[in-house]
């Protein structure tokens, strides 16, 4: 779907070489006020970093939710926001594959208004959720004129690709690029994001958008690295162990043959 070596030479996410596939890479992050009520969060904003690999358009944006009305975006509205950033309407997304990436995707999934629509496609891995495998799911969405559109969609999580000791976005981002790490907020600010939004909106926005930028950079770097290690080039890896398994399988098949692999691991009577 994405030829990482071709699209991002030397793993550099700032250089995008356009390819044929209609693929949009997008990262999502949401800010909320915790413990607004005992059991619910108050969503303050959604932010996105997006690259259209077909046209080369890229951009970041933040959508401020109407928190007074407890607004939340639906999956269709999220796709619409992503499309808008790279100049595409919902109708234009027909035929596109949207690879949506988050760091700790369960957090972003929990903010989606109609999240149950995604549930049947999701797999839980290490306390987060992703769409499993390398094939996208097909989401039926309706544009403003109630016309049905099919968007191919994947949800992936950078947290499943970083080494065990570097699970936090802060640590992982420093490892990738110390000059472009996640921004810091104090503990007090983090526990009162609504206050930060109201009193220091510029700081809030800078912090929020940096998270999606860092996640996008991290995901591209990790995919490029894993494709290089595995000698693949165009695989989207979901977890480190699935990447290791893929590498093992190809090496075993190369050394002993495909039938030997089937014989050893899928041994039947």
């Amino acid at each position: 779907m994405i030829n990482f070596a071709h699209s991002f030479p030397n793993g550099d996410d700032s250089v995008v070489v356009l390819g044929k596939p209609a693929v949009i890479l997008a990262t999502i992050d949401a800010e909320w006020q915790s413990n607004y009520t005992k059991n619910e969060n108050l969503i303050l904003s959604y932010q996105f970093s997006v690259i259209d690999l077909k046209t080369g358009q890229r951009g970041d944006d933040i959508y401020y939710a109407n928190w007074v009305e407890k607004e939340r975006l639906t999956i269709t509205q999220i796709l619409e926001q992503i499309g808008n950033i790279v100049g595409l309407s919902l109708s234009d997304l027909n035929g596109y594959t949207i690879v949506l990436v988050a760091h700790n995707a369960i957090a972003e999934w929990s903010t989606i208004k109609n999240r149950s629509k995604l549930n049947k496609y999701l797999q839980m891995i290490r306390k987060t959720v992703i769409t499993p495998g390398v094939s996208p799911i097909e989401l039926k969405i309706y544009d403003g004129n109630r016309n049905k559109k099919i968007v191919k969609f994947m949800l992936k999580d950078t947290m499943l690709l970083v080494p065990e000791a570097y699970r936090s976005l802060k640590k992982a981002s420093v490892l990738v690029d110390p000059e472009f790490a996640k921004l810091d907020l104090t503990k007090e600010e983090l526990s009162n994001m609504l206050k930060l939004l109201q009193e220091e909106p510029a700081k809030f926005e800078a912090y929020a958008i940096r998270d999606t930028q860092v996640t996008l950079k991290l995901w591209i770097t990790l995919q490029c690295m894993l494709n290089e290690i595995n000698g693949t080039g165009n695989r989207i890896f979901s977890t480190l162990s699935s990447a290791a398994l893929s590498r093992f399988r190809s090496m075993y098949v190369q050394e002993f043959g495909g039938e030997a692999f089937e014989f050893l691991f899928r041994r039947k009577i």
Binding site: S34, N35, K38, N39, E40, N41, I106, A107, S110, T111, N119, K120, Y121, L122, Q123, M124, K127, V129, L161, V162, P163, E164, A165, Y166, L175, V176, T221, L222, M225, L226, I229, L240, S241, A243, A244, L245, R247, F248, R249, M251, Y252, E255, F256, A260, F263, L264, F265, R266, R267, K268, I269
Partner: protein
Amino acid sequence: MSSYFDEKYDAWVGGEKPRKSDEKSPKQLEFEKHYDLASRGYMGGLNSSYVIGEVKGDIIDIDFSSCYPSALNMIQNMTYDVSGGIEEFKIELEKYDGIHLPIAIADIEFEYPQDCLYPSLPIKNGDAGLFYVLKGRTTCTLPEIHLALQQGCVISKWHEAVVMKCDEGFTFRGFLSILIQARDDAKKEGNNMLQLILKDSVNGMYGKVAQGINRRPTYIVGKGVSRPLPPSAVTNPYIASAVTGVVRAALSSIVHALSALDGYMVISATTDGVLYKSPLSGGCTPVSDLLFDAAVIEKKYTGSIVQALEGGSNDYIKSFESVDNVLYQELLKYPSIRLLQASRGVWGFDEFIEIKHIATEVTNLKTRGQVGFYEYEGVKYPTVLAKAGNKIDGSKLEQATELLKMFCDTEIAYNDVTTLASIRDILDPKKTVNDLVSVKTRVKVNSQP
């Protein structure tokens, strides 16, 4: 080829009943019997505490380098030719020398001598880990039975056994060698991210081999129910049991060796490492001369032992071979330990056991719960810190102090712990949680043995 195991796996995941036994051929039945035996022989690691409370002296925390990958590296391609059963197993026992890793599992009844302090045959105890008892019945691997016999254990009854024939090819060696070489290169180039990814990839491979064997439940988001985790593309109970079995045998070999040597004391064993007290200094040689690598301390810590102790790394400690050569030489008498050494040798590494920590006093709270300090020039530096599952924040010294305080409290203590709601909580209609909110719970402090 029939799809018997696909169906079995589907049955695990979908709850369908397996086919009736009368529909299976004798070959299927035999294969299923051996497969089940191998699955029963698959167990977790040895985790035991042998001393509770404070121990003072020259205390060393060692572990096998890349333990599970090293065992995996010795697995040879199975041919699925199974013959001989119990008799062949006994012949293989005689031949076990630590050069080859046999894939052989047996169901036995056993009895150790009454004075055996450290029996080494594990018995599964549900989710509560492993029991090590003097007399009982278990299904375990050949290296473990080999060690038990060395300890004077008598096998009173052989129920069944399987010895898997293998060809000359090593299943994982090509893959592991390339990744380990790449990790070494990444380290030299200072590519920290890549070397950590490669480390996790190497360690993660064993997990894929064992995935689904114990039918651990996993939550199915779309259905709102838990089902056993399905196997991976490389799940294989024969390989998984052989790998974990030889690691337990190697660790039990260290425990056995320590119990037989004068002046040594085993404190605890944890999956791939052992904490023990050694008679190293003998009261006359300064311990620091024996332990610390002067060249590393000079180069990395500006010649300051204090800086090295505060650094939290173990790179300033000399090799295990040079620090405790008496124990090192003793350990090489055990085949399962030689096997792990040989495996590391294949990758070009001389070192296969490393010292993780040193201490002059350790308080052993329970399994996976130890606090240790190294005293240098009158100051105690925290070195060993295993928190027994307790969530404690702060510096290493603060955490060590808090853990010791918990241990010394005679009353039952509780901790307020804040965690995030799980997806299961969020989706459960019976619960009031609708979001990824913080959930406060009160947990009993887990420090009593």
